[in-house]
C-alpha cells in the first residue's frame, strides 16, 4: 500500500511551485506571455544551469555542511574544459569533472579528518579555484572554437528539452531513486540531523562527508564544463551567478541550513520554482530586481514557516481549537 508520509517532504516545495505558477498566470492575465510553450524551454535551460549546483550544495546542506567552493569550481571547470577539450570535448569534460571530483574529495577529507568547519575550508577552495582560473586564462575570457558543440547543446529536443537539461533531469532522477530507495538517503539525513547519534548508530560519517563534497565538486565541474561548451567560451569568474540561486533553490526545495531535512526531488522542485520565477518575470517584462524581491519574499515566508516560535504558536492554536 502507498505510504502517504513519503509525500510529506514534497508538499511544501510543490505548493510553493504551484503558488508561483498561479501568481504569475494571474499577473499575466490573458496576454499569453507566461503560459506559453516558449517559456518551458527557457525554464528548463535555467534548470540545467542552476540544478546541478543546487543538488550538490543541497546535499552538503542536508548533512549540515555548506560547499561555498562551487562558485569558483564552475568558472575553473569551464576554463579547464575549454582549454583541454579543443580537439575532443569529451576529454575536456572528463578533465573538468575529474578535477571537480578530486578537489571535492580533498576538501571533504580536510573537513572530515581535521574536523574543520566546511564554510572556512570551501571559502579557501573558492578563492584558490578563482586564482587558478585567472592563471589558466591570463585573466581573459577565452573562446571555444568548436561552435558545433555549442550548436548541439543549444538544440531543442522534443520541443522543450536540450542535451544539458536532459542530463540534469536524468541525474536528479537517479539521485532521487538512490536517496529514496537505499540506506544512503537515511544515513545522510541522520548525519545532518544528529552527527553523534549517527556515529553511535555505526554510520560511517566521515566517508559520507567526503563523498558528499566529492559529489558536489563533480556536479559543479560538470555544470561549468557544459556551460563553457554551450556558450563556446569560458571566463575566470564563471559565466553565470550560481551560488545564491542554487542555495535559494535548495531552501525552496525544503532543505534547511540546520541540516537533516530535504530530498533531491525537493531540490529539483525548488530549482524549478526559481527557474519559473526568473523566466516568468522576464516574460512578463519585469526587471531583475522584481525577481529578487519576489524570491526574497518567498524565502522570508519559508523562514517564518520553518521558525520554531511560529510552529509552537501554530501548535498552541491547534490545541486551543481542539479544546474549543
Amino acid at each position: 500500500m502507498f505510504n502517504r508520509r513519503l509525500l510529506v517532504p514534497y508538499l511544501r516545495p510543490s505548493a510553493v511551485l504551484l503558488a508561483v505558477i498561479l501568481i504569475l498566470a494571474v499577473i499575466d492575465g490573458s496576454h499569453g506571455r507566461f503560459l506559453s510553450s516558449s517559456i518551458v524551454f527557457s525554464v528548463l535551460q535555467m534548470f540545467a544551469t542552476v540544478g546541478p549546483i543546487a543538488l550538490g550544495v543541497g546535499m552538503t546542506m542536508i548533512i549540515r555542511e555548506f560547499d561555498l567552493s562551487v562558485a569558483g569550481m564552475v568558472g575553473m571547470a569551464g576554463c579547464i574544459a575549454v582549454l583541454t577539450g579543443g580537439d575532443n570535448p569529451w576529454l575536456g569534460l572528463a578533465a573538468a569533472v575529474g578535477t571537480g571530483l578530486c578537489t571535492g574529495l580533498l576538501q571533504g577529507f580536510i573537513i572530515a579528518r581535521l574536523k574543520l568547519p566546511s564554510i572556512g575550508v570551501t571559502l579557501g577552495g573558492l578563492l584558490v579555484f578563482l586564482g587558478v582560473s585567472y592563471a589558466l586564462t591570463g585573466s581573459r575570457s577565452i573562446q571555444y572554437d568548436d561552435l558545433e558543440v555549442a550548436g548541439l547543446l543549444g538544440q531543442h529536443i522534443f520541443g522543450f528539452f536540450s542535451i544539458p537539461s536532459l542530463i540534469i533531469l536524468v541525474i536528479f532522477a537517479v539521485v532521487a531513486l538512490i536517496f529514496g530507495m537505499t540506506k544512503l538517503g537515511r544515513d545522510l539525513l541522520a548525519v545532518g540531523g544528529d552527527r553523534r547519534a549517527a556515529l553511535s548508530a555505526g554510520i560511517r560519517v566521515d566517508t559520507l562527508l567526503i563523498g558528499t563534497f566529492a559529489f558536489s565538486g563533480a556536479l559543479a565541474a560538470m555544470c561549468g564544463a557544459l556551460l563553457g561548451y554551450s556558450l563556446a567560451s569560458a571566463a575566470p569568474t564563471g559565466l553565470s551567478n550560481v551560488l545564491v540561486p542554487a542555495t535559494t533553490a535548495a531552501i525552496l526545495g525544503g532543505v534547511s541550513l540546520s541540516g537533516g531535512t530535504g530530498r533531491p526531488l525537493g531540490i529539483a522542485l525548488g530549482t524549478l520554482t526559481l527557474s519559473v520565477l526568473q523566466s516568468g518575470l522576464n516574460a512578463l517584462g519585469l526587471s531583475s530586481y522584481a525577481h529578487e524581491i519576489f524570491v526574497g519574499l518567498v524565502l522570508l515566508a519559508i523562514a517564518i514557516l520553518d521558525g520554531t516560535a511560529f510552529n509552537a504558536r501554530l501548535d498552541m492554536l491547534r490545541l486551543a481549537l481542539r479544546r474549543s
Binding site: S42, Q45, T137, S141, L239, N241, S288, Y289
Partner: protein
C-alpha cells in the same frame, strides 16, 4: 536702446546656449516617425540589470525613442550573467520577436545564441558593448564607440597632462573596467599605443577594478602606497569618471595633491559623467572623454528603424569622439549630465 539690445542679446545667447545644450543632451522632440514598416514591430531589448543607473537610463531612452517609430519594446534584464542572456535570446527567438537589440554581457559567450538568432532569421542590433571582431555576419549593426580610438584619446590626454605639469614622462597607473573582455582591453590597447611614443612615460600598473568605484578607491589607495617610495604616480587614469573621482578621493585621503603642476598628480577620467565634469571644473581632473548615453540610445533605435524601412545601415555606427578638458567644458556639460 543699446542697453536693451545688449540685454536681449545676452538673453538670446543664454537661451541659445540652453537650446544647444538640450539639443546635444537629448534627441530633439520629434514628430511621429512611424512608418508601416516600423509600426507595431516587436523588439526585444536586452540590457544588464536596471539597478545599474547607466543601464536604466539606456533602457528608458531606447523605449522613449522607439515610441516615435511605433515599435513595441520588451526589456530583458540580466545581472551581468552571460548564461542567462543566452537563454533570454532563445526565449526571444521562440516568441518570434521582430528584432533583438542588445548589450552583450560577453562578446564570446553570446556567439552561439547569435548564431541561433541568425538561423531563425531574427536580426540583431548590438550597442555599447562591442562585438567580437570576425562575427559581423551575425548582427545587423553595432552602435557605440570605437574603444581603441577612445583609448588613444585618453592616452593623448595623459601625455598632455604630463606636459602641462612640466614633466617629460612619468609613472602612469591605469585603473580599468573589466579586463577579461569587452571595451576595457580595447581602451587599454589604445592608451598603450599612444604612450609608446614617449619612452619616458612608464605604465607602472594596470589594475582591473571591474567598473566598481568602491573597488577603484581601494585599489588606488594601494597603488599610492606601493609607489610612494618609487617617485609616486604622476598620472592616474580611471576608465569611467565615477572611477576617476574615486581615485581622487583615495588620493585626498592619502594626502596626495591632485591637479596640474609640480608635486601634483594628474587625474584622467572617461565616459564623461556629471561628477567628472564637476571634477574638471574644480581643477581636480585634467580630462575625460565622450560617451553619451542619449546618443547611444537614440542612434540604436534609428538604426533599427532604418533596417525595418529597408534603408542601408553601416555595420559599425561609431560616434565622433573628443577629449573633454576645461577648454571645451561648456560644450559638453549638458550632454554629460544625465
Amino acid at each position: 536702446m543699446s542697453k536693451h539690445v545688449g540685454r536681449i542679446m545676452r538673453r538670446s545667447s543664454a537661451v541659445l546656449a540652453v537650446v544647444i545644450g538640450l539639443t546635444m543632451a537629448m534627441p530633439a522632440a520629434r514628430a511621429d516617425e512611424a512608418t508601416p514598416q516600423t509600426k507595431g514591430k516587436k523588439v526585444a531589448l536586452m540590457v544588464a540589470t536596471l539597478q545599474d543607473y547607466y543601464m536604466a537610463l539606456l533602457n528608458r531612452l531606447v523605449i522613449a525613442r522607439a515610441k516615435d517609430f511605433g515599435m513595441e519594446i520588451t526589456t530583458f534584464t540580466t545581472p551581468y550573467d552571460p548564461a542567462l542572456q543566452s537563454t533570454q535570446i532563445d526565449e526571444a527567438i521562440a516568441r518570434k520577436f521582430d528584432m533583438i537589440v542588445m548589450i552583450a554581457m560577453s562578446e564570446n559567450a553570446v556567439i552561439p545564441a547569435l548564431q541561433r538568432a541568425k538561423q531563425a532569421k531574427i536580426p540583431v542590433v548590438m550597442f555599447v558593448a562591442p562585438p567580437k571582431p570576425g562575427t559581423e555576419e551575425l548582427f545587423v549593426s553595432f552602435v557605440g564607440e570605437d574603444n581603441v580610438a577612445l583609448g588613444r584619446i585618453s592616452g593623448q590626454s595623459i601625455l598632455d597632462a604630463l606636459k602641462a605639469s612640466g614633466r617629460d614622462g612619468g609613472n602612469v597607473a591605469l585603473v580599468t573596467g573589466l579586463l577579461a573582455e569587452g571595451l576595457a582591453p580595447r581602451r587599454v590597447a589604445g592608451i598603450k599605443e599612444v604612450l609608446a611614443s614617449n619612452k619616458n612615460v612608464k605604465i607602472v600598473a594596470i589594475e582591473d577594478a571591474k567598473w566598481d568605484p568602491v573597488l577603484t578607491e581601494k585599489i588606488s589607495g594601494q597603488l599610492y602606497g606601493r609607489f610612494a617610495g618609487q617617485g609616486g604616480i604622476d598620472v592616474i587614469y580611471g576608465m569611467a569618471d565615477n572611477m576617476a573621482t574615486a581615485s581622487i578621493q583615495a588620493a585626498e585621503a592619502a594626502g596626495i595633491k591632485v591637479g596640474i603642476g609640480p608635486g601634483k598628480m594628474a587625474v584622467i577620467g572617461g565616459d564623461c559623467f556629471k561628477e567628472g565634469i564637476e571634477a574638471i571644473k574644480a581643477g581636480k581632473m585634467f580630462a575625460t572623454a565622450t560617451q553619451i548615453p542619449t546618443w547611444e540610445a537614440a542612434k540604436t533605435v534609428e538604426v533599427a528603424a532604418s533596417y525595418f524601412n529597408g534603408k542601408p545601415v553601416s555595420k559599425y555606427e561609431y560616434f565622433p569622439l573628443e577629449a573633454i578638458t576645461k577648454d571645451n567644458l561648456a560644450k559638453w556639460e549638458a550632454p554629460c549630465t544625465f
